[in-house]
Structures are given as C-alpha cells and as structure tokens.
C-alpha cells in the first residue's frame, strides 16, 4: 500500500479487502477479493465501505490512543479532541487521507487501495494448497466488481491460467458487452436478486431491475449460476416476491438458490464512515420466514439453502 490517495494508474484496480478462508462465497475454501465501488445503493448493505468508487477513511474510536497526530496533520481542521475523545467533522473532510497515514493505532484507516492484478494474484495464490484440497478458489465480490470489468477480467484469466477456480459475485447491473467479456474466464456466478417489482427494486437499491433480470437470464445460459437472495424483512420477504423470484430462478435454470438473511452487523460501520444507518428499525428475519421462503423455492423444483 502506498500513500497515493486518489491517484490511479491505468492497470490498477481499487480493492478494499482480500479475505482468505472465505467459505460462503462458492465451493470449498476460497479467497474473496472485494472490489470497491458500487452502482447500487442498497439500504441494508453490510459493507457500506464498498460503495464509493474511491478511497475513503474509516474511524475506529475504540482504538484511539489520543496522541493527536491526526488533528495536527489535517489540512482542513476537520478533526478535534474533546473530553468525549476524537471527533471528525465529516462535512469538512476532503478525503485527503493524511490522517490515516499518520495514525499509529489504526484508529483511522484508509479503506481502498489501488493494486495491480499481480498484487492480487500473489495474495490469491498464497492459499493454492487449500483450494486444491477443498475444491475452492477465488471469488471476486464488491461493491459491484463489474464497474472495474477490465481489471477483473484480467484477474480471472490469470487465475484460470493457474488452475484456480473462479467465481464472480455480482448484482449484474452492468452492460452485457462487459459482462460477456468477463464471463469468458469465470467458472461460477453468484448472482444477487432482490426484488421482482422494479418500483420496489428502485426504492431499495436506487436502480430498477430490468437490466439485472435480463442479464441474469443470459448469464445463467452461459455459466454455472447460483442465485442469491438477501432476505430483508418488510422489504422483499412478501409471499408474492419470493414466489416470483422462485419462478424466475426456475425459468432461467440456476443451479441453486441461496437465501441470505439480513443481519445488523453492518450497521456499526456506518457511523465509522460518517454516515447514517437507515435500517435501525429492521431486525434479522425469523427462522419461520426463512424456512417458508426456502420451501417456496424448493416447491419449484430448485435446490435451496439458507446461507449467511
């Protein structure tokens, strides 16, 4: 990592996390590469740091040792200290990232690093032995990874060349000509679907579902596909929606459907980014509604599972 801030070189991608030992993003033991930047704005997003397509800061107050280095270095005076501890005036912050570089305690971290395909590949290859033994591989997730389609296309290609299984976790909200190019090097797609009603889809994610559904159909024709449904109480868990999603999944012929129950874990990240969480009222779905959704999907002859 370097202290370059926004400066991006041509062959670089913006990654905010590379997580080893991922076992819920495809078969076996996997490494998941999280690309930063998203074309959707899902209210329930559990990785809010994935949305902005540029590096930003995240503040971990609990780690702060009170040394004041961030305050001294901030060029716009956005950081102050009081008896309550360190405070950040997010409206003033220009995301110059200087505070993150000087903090000795990781109490302000820079989220998002520009890396080359080689950088990522080196990291991914470290766990090759685990992929071999478990039938695992690499999954690229986001954000919406397709926003950086050229980068991930190259990454997938180079992984495949090395015999590493490749999976793409996507919302599918991208032009088909780009998706098509990426899919050439993808073994499995984990395809997110939220709502069959485009109006509701726009309400929850900021975009309509037409392109997403159209692409899903094409993707499933080409590559082994698992459909993933984040189940958000009072948003997309109605009988109608689940039934429609199941019909759709069955029609486009996906291999299986995973229901991912909404959880509140992402909520604590929002204030760290200086943002408000809009889902305070929502609790995780209960076991019955998950089971019911699973049964509805199974009744269409599909393989279904409750994931996490």
């Amino acid at each position: 990592m370097s202290a370059r801030g926004f400066e991006r070189l041509n062959d670089e991608g913006l990654v905010f996390n590379i997580q080893k030992f991922s076992i819920h993003d495809g078969p076996g033991i996997r490494t998941t590469v999280f690309m930063k930047g998203c074309s959707l704005q899902c209210k329930w997003c559990s990785n809010p740091e994935s949305i902005k397509p540029y590096p930003e800061i995240m503040a971990f107050d609990i780690r702060c040792i009170g040394c004041g280095k961030c305050m001294q270095t901030c060029p716009v005076g956005a950081i102050s200290f009081s008896e309550k501890g360190r405070e950040i005036d997010w409206a003033k912050c220009t995301l110059c990232l200087e505070c993150a570089w000087v903090c000795p305690a990781k109490a302000i971290e820079c989220i998002g690093t520009y890396v080359t395909v080689d950088d990522v590949l080196k990291k991914v290859e470290e766990d090759s032995i685990f992929y071999q033994n478990s039938g695992g591989g690499m999954t690229v997730s986001g954000g919406e990874a397709l926003l950086q389609w050229e980068f991930i296309r190259e990454l997938f290609k180079r992984c495949r060349d090395r015999g590493i299984h490749t999976a793409l976790d996507t919302t599918g909200n991208a032009p088909w000509r780009k998706i098509e190019k990426v899919l050439e090097h993808v073994d499995l797609v984990l395809y997110d679907c939220k709502h069959m009603d485009t109006r509701k889809h726009r309400e929850g994610t900021g975009v309509g579902n037409e392109l997403i559904l159209k692409n899903a159909e094409k993707v499933a024709l080409r590559v082994r596909t698992w459909l993933r449904i984040p189940l958000i109480p009072d948003y997309n868990d109605s009988e109608w929606n689940i039934r429609e999603l199941a019909e759709f999944a069955s029609r486009i012929n996906v291999e299986k459907v995973s229901i991912l129950p909404y959880n509140e874990l992402g909520g604590s990240k929002y204030p760290k980014l200086g943002q408000a969480y809009r889902m305070e009222e929502t609790a995780a779905p209960d076991v019955e509604s998950l089971q019911k959704a699973k049964e509805t999907i199974e009744s269409r002859g599909l393989k279904a599972e409750i994931g996490r």
Binding site: S22, K106, F130, N133
Partner: protein, 804 residues
Amino acid sequence: MKTPTATEVKDLNERIHLKSVRNVRRGQEVEEGIDIYRPGVKVCLERTRLLTESYKMTEGQSPMMRQARALERILLNMSLYIRDWEQIVGNYASNPDAVFWPIEQNWKSVHRLLHGEGKSLLDDEGRAELDEIVEYWDGKTVSDRRKKAFAGCPDLEKYWKYEGTMLWSQWSDQGVPNYEKVISIGLNGIIREAEGKLQEIRRTIPSDYNCQKEFLEAVTISLKATIEWARRYAEKARELAKSDKDQERKKQLEEIAEICEWVPANPVRTLHEALQSFIFTHIVRDQIEFITLGCGIRFDMVMNPFYKKDLKEGRITREKALELVKQTRLHLEELGQMYSPTLTQVYGGVQVLQSLVIGGVDSEGRDITNEMSYLILDSVLEMKTLQPSIALRVHDGTPKDLFVKAIDVIRTGVGYPSLQNDKALIPLLLKWGCPLEDARNYTISGCVYLDIQGKNILRRNSTYFSLPRCLWWALRQGIDPKTGEQYGAPTPDPTTFTSIEDVMDAYLEQVRFFMEKQVQVENVTRSVYAEYYPRPFASALTDGCIERGQDLRSWAYSGRVESFAIAVGPTNVADSLAAVKKFVFDEKKSPMAELIKIIDRNWEGREDLRQMMLSAPKFGNDDDYVDMIANEVHCRTEQVIEKFSDFCGSGFHLDGSAVSATYGLSLDTPATPDGRKDGEAFADGSLSPMPAADVSGPTAVLKSCSKVDTLQSYNYLLNQKFLPGFLEGENKEIFYNYLKSWADLGISHIQFNVVDKETLLDAQNHPEKHGGLVVRVAGYSAYFVDLSRGLQDHIIARTEQGFA
C-alpha cells in the same frame, strides 16, 4: 456383559478423583485464592515410608540393589484396592484420593509445602512422620547430592536458581517401554533373558562383571516383585468374590483374579489381559519405581491384534471392548503427581501428561489404522477424560474416515486428538540419527514429546527456556539493570548495532551463555541419577539393557532424542526482531537507544511508539517479512542448543511443548520490542502466533507456520481455536480439507480448542455452572475452572478462528 447406560458411564467418570495440579505461581508471584489441588486430594506417605524402611535396611549395599529392594518392598507391602466397578485393576497409592511425593528426589519442597500452603494435604500425625522420614533423607536425595556436586562451583548454584530466563526442572524423565515385548513374552520371558545373560557373563567374566551381575540380579528382583504384586491383586479379587452376593460381579472378580495370576508374568492371550498388563507395567514403571511423565504406547497397534482375535473367537463384543478401553483410560486419568509450587507456573492444570498414540505408519511405512483406532475415539465420545490425551499420527495414507472420527472428537471440545504429522516428524528423527524403522515407529509420550517405544530414551525436558528474555538480555549487554551485575553474556552495546543481524547475534550469544549453565546443572544431576538412582525395572523393559548388562541411565539410544530444553516465546522473539528491523533499521523511525529506554519504562508515555511496533508485520499472517525471521529464530536457536551434549554424547534439542510456561514464565520478562508489555503472556505455543496478531484467518496461520522448517529446527506445538459450528454439518468437510492442507504443508503439530468466548467468560464468572468445561492448555487438557484467573485469560485471549 450389559452395555452401560449414559448415566452409568458418567458416574464412573465422576468417581475418579482428579489430581491436576493447579497453577499457583506465575513467575515469582503467588496466585491468590487457589489451592494447589482440588479439595479432597491428600498426600499418601505409604510409598515414602516403605521406601525409607527399605533404604534403612539396605545401608551399605550398592545403589542398584537398594533400588531393586526398595521397589520390592513397596510392591509386596503397599495397600491394594479394587473398587466395585473395576474390571481393570491397579493402584499407585494407598487410596484413590492420594498423590505421593518422590522423597528420594528432594525433601525440601515437600517439607515446605506440607508445612505451609499445602498444610491441608496431610494431617498432623502424617506431618510428624514426614519430618522423621525427612531426617533420614537429609543429605541423601538427588537434590542434596547435586548440591554437594555443585560445591566449589558457585556459578552452578547461582544459575540453578530460577531468575526468569531458565527454569530447570528435576523430574522430567519420560521414555516409553517396550510394551509389545512385555505383552508377547511376559515378565517371565524377560527374567529368563536376564538369567541367560547372567550365565553368559559367568563364563566370559567381563571387566565390569560385578556391576553387570548386580544389575541383572536387580532386574530379576524387580520383575519378580511386580509379578508378585499382580498376584496380590488376584488374591484380593478372589477374596472379594467370596463375599460378593451379586453373581455377575462375582464372575467379574474371578475373571480379574485369573487375569492377574497370568499377566504381566506370561504372554498375553486376550484384549482384557493386554490392557491389564499395560496398566500394571505403566503404574510400576512410571509411578512407583520412579515418577515419570508421559505414556506413549501406540495403542491401536499394540491392542488391535488381541481385539481382533477375541472378536473372531467370540470372546468379546464391541461394547465390552469399549467398556474395557474406557476403564483403561480411567486408570490413566486418576494418576497424578506432586509438583513444587514453583513448577506450577509451567505445569498449570497438569496431571502426568500421558498420551496414547493412534494411526501413523509401521516400521515398514504401511498405514496401521485399525478397528482399535476408531474404538478408542468412540470411547472418548462416550466418556471425556483429561488424560490420556490422544495423539493421532497423520500421513498421506491416513483414511478419511479416521480424520472424520477425529473431527467428531475434537468437536466435543475435549482438546484432543492432537494431530502429529509424519511428513514433518519422520525426517526430523532421521536427521537426529534414528534408523528409518525406528523413526517410522515414533510415538508421542506426552504433549509433543517425540519418543520411540522400547528404545533407551529417557527424554528429559530439563529446562524451560524464555527466549524473549534472552533477547532482553541482548539489548542490555547481559547486565541486570536493577543490580548492575553482569548476569548474562557480555554482548556488545546495542546502540552500536547497525543491522538486525547484530541483534540476532547478541540474542544467540545470550542463548548460548544461559544454555551452557543449564547443561552443566543437568549433566551434574544426570551423573547423580546414574550413580545413585538406577532403574532396574524400567531397564528390564528397555531394549539393550539386559544385552549390555547395564542400567538405562548409564547409556543412551544412538539417535539424539535424549535431552531437551523447552522453548518458550520464540514467536515473540521473531515479532520483536521484525519490528526492530522495520522501524529501527529499515525505516529509521526510532533509534535503538530511544526504543530501549522506552521499553525499559514499559512504554509509559509512548503508546504511539508501542502502536508503531505493534503495526510491524506479525507472525501468523503469511507475511514473508516476519515469517522468514521466525524461521531463522527457530533454526538458529536450535543450532546453538544442538552444540551441547550429555555424558552419553547425546545432543540437546529444543522441544516445542511449551506447557503453561508461555504464561508462567512471561511475568519475569519485561516489555519486548514486539509491543508486548511487561509481564504480558507470550504467544501460547512454540509455533502459535501471538493472540490477536493473526488477523488474516486460519489459512494464513498455517502458511506462516509452514515456513518454519521443522527439519532444521524441532517439533512444534500449534494451538488453534475454532467455534464449535465450524466442525459441524457441511463445514465438517471444509474442516477436513483444512486439516489435509495442514498435513500437506508439513507442519509438525496442531490441536484445537473448540469453544466460544462467551462460554469461557461465563465459566470465569460462574465456575459452578461449568465444572465440566475442558480446555486445551498446551499439550494437555485441563478443567477450565481449575486454572488460575491469569491462565484462564491467556486461553480466552487466543484468536478465535471462524467463518469468513
């Protein structure tokens, strides 16, 4: 035989009185509010009394003869008991609640303990008797004789005392007897060998004829005494059978009598006899003759032929075999031993550190997995015990079914089986000079102690070695800052160091300096043992002793597997060196003088500097920057240790067992450059990353560990902590793949705590609700509630690996 119900099994388990020693010391501090044993455990003086009587009667005779006669007197006169549930018998003290103290080793510690903080372990009458016995032994114990041998060498007396860098421990004999031989020819067969040798030397008259003759006679006396001891159990069983009204029990007792009349004297015929023979042999060799750590029988390999035969001939059912195996484990579970309060800092929660070994290959390299491998794991699923720990030897041919069964047992949280990797350990033993067939036949006697069945390996872990403290000395030129005394090696002024290599050299010089002192202490003690405390019984069960006419203490197995120093804190040394390399030498962010000054005041006022040192690459994240340094620390420390040897020419090695010393010794090591504060516990195993420093998940931990070259260093201990859900359902397959990868990576060891943090925290606050909660400390398991608060915290702090 009726199958016992779950409650019966549970009851049986609970009837055993545990003698785990609690951790009452950390460094030189006392842990408050904890007794050294569970309530109800008492000290038994019977062995001490009989031993002393015999020693008084044999004044003037050779030490060899005195040892044999003492064993004989104990075995012929000690109290025997058979409890109403026992089908396998054998006791080591006069009652099931008792531990005893090997008075011939040292009287001072026991005297101090029983007159002080352990007063309740003995009544006043017993104390008066003990005082009398002590009067006799004053001047005659190993400690006294060692002290005499130190006379005129003030250096040895000085470095023998625990100061924080090294803890020397007297009773650390291990070694594994040739169980297969006892089982196949019986003690009578071995007596015939001894008599044959005696006849031979009467013809050849070797120059040490008298020595050999005494030894062979002592062997015969001790074997005959053991046969007689077993016969006394037969007598006892017949007596009980007469008065027992329960017909079923009457039959069992008569069966016990027949078995004890037959074994260990004669060749074993059935599984029941084999297990009884094993227990008799183990108790006499490892408890009564001489307090010994470990066990190490290759259980499935030794026991399965008899099980198979019994099954074929319709003598046994799987249920009955399960019951016998459980009873065998219970006999090991109830063995205990007394430790001095100082030693509890390294042995917190320990009983006798016994391991049984399953799986692996035979001397020809073939997989030995058999029915008994599964049966003993099933017996753990039915009944948890702390002892014996089970070590599963893994190689390319280990069946998946055995892995899966092992995962089921690990899932229960019992802390074992630990996994030992043939891929790493067989080449290591070959390098240490063991012939291929012996290396393939290796076993684990306790923790990660490498051993070979039947070979003359006493395997003494005599020293606990705080490596971070050596680094600390290296940053102080070996001068004690409190007294100004040149206590360690006079290494160069650290402010003149220009590269990490200079720091490494100074550290290694400190290691060499302290090891030299400890080796002298150990070797002086060994010669005292060899001269005054031979072991005719253990020698009889050790290959080569009778052929040579020589006690096992006066020679050693040709492979260098004899002498060990237990490495404590190598990860902290590696993390410290990486931090110094990065911030002092590479990035020049902190001058050495400043760093040392701030470490000296425990980082006070400079939390920012501590955070910076903490942010350096840490072992356990698959980061070459620090992993390569870790490899160097391990290998080069071992190279220094290897240069030392004992009087048999057998070289020293490091051993990775760690026990609870990672916690116990840490208090006496001030702050270290890795960001660790004064007195903070070290990383919890010899190969474990520092807790919470391994932030890249469990695969990265294994990758880091795999970069440490076992072949160039030693056998390691690696703890991992997982949430229970990770070993269940669909995840079980993933866990199996993870273990396969561990094996492929050639890491020597791994073991697991499977428990969530909430449970541990709750157990800390409500011990009454968690009496049965077992955790893995190091190479052994212990009840969580028996551990001191600090040691509990040490376990809670370990990084919890789970879902990503």
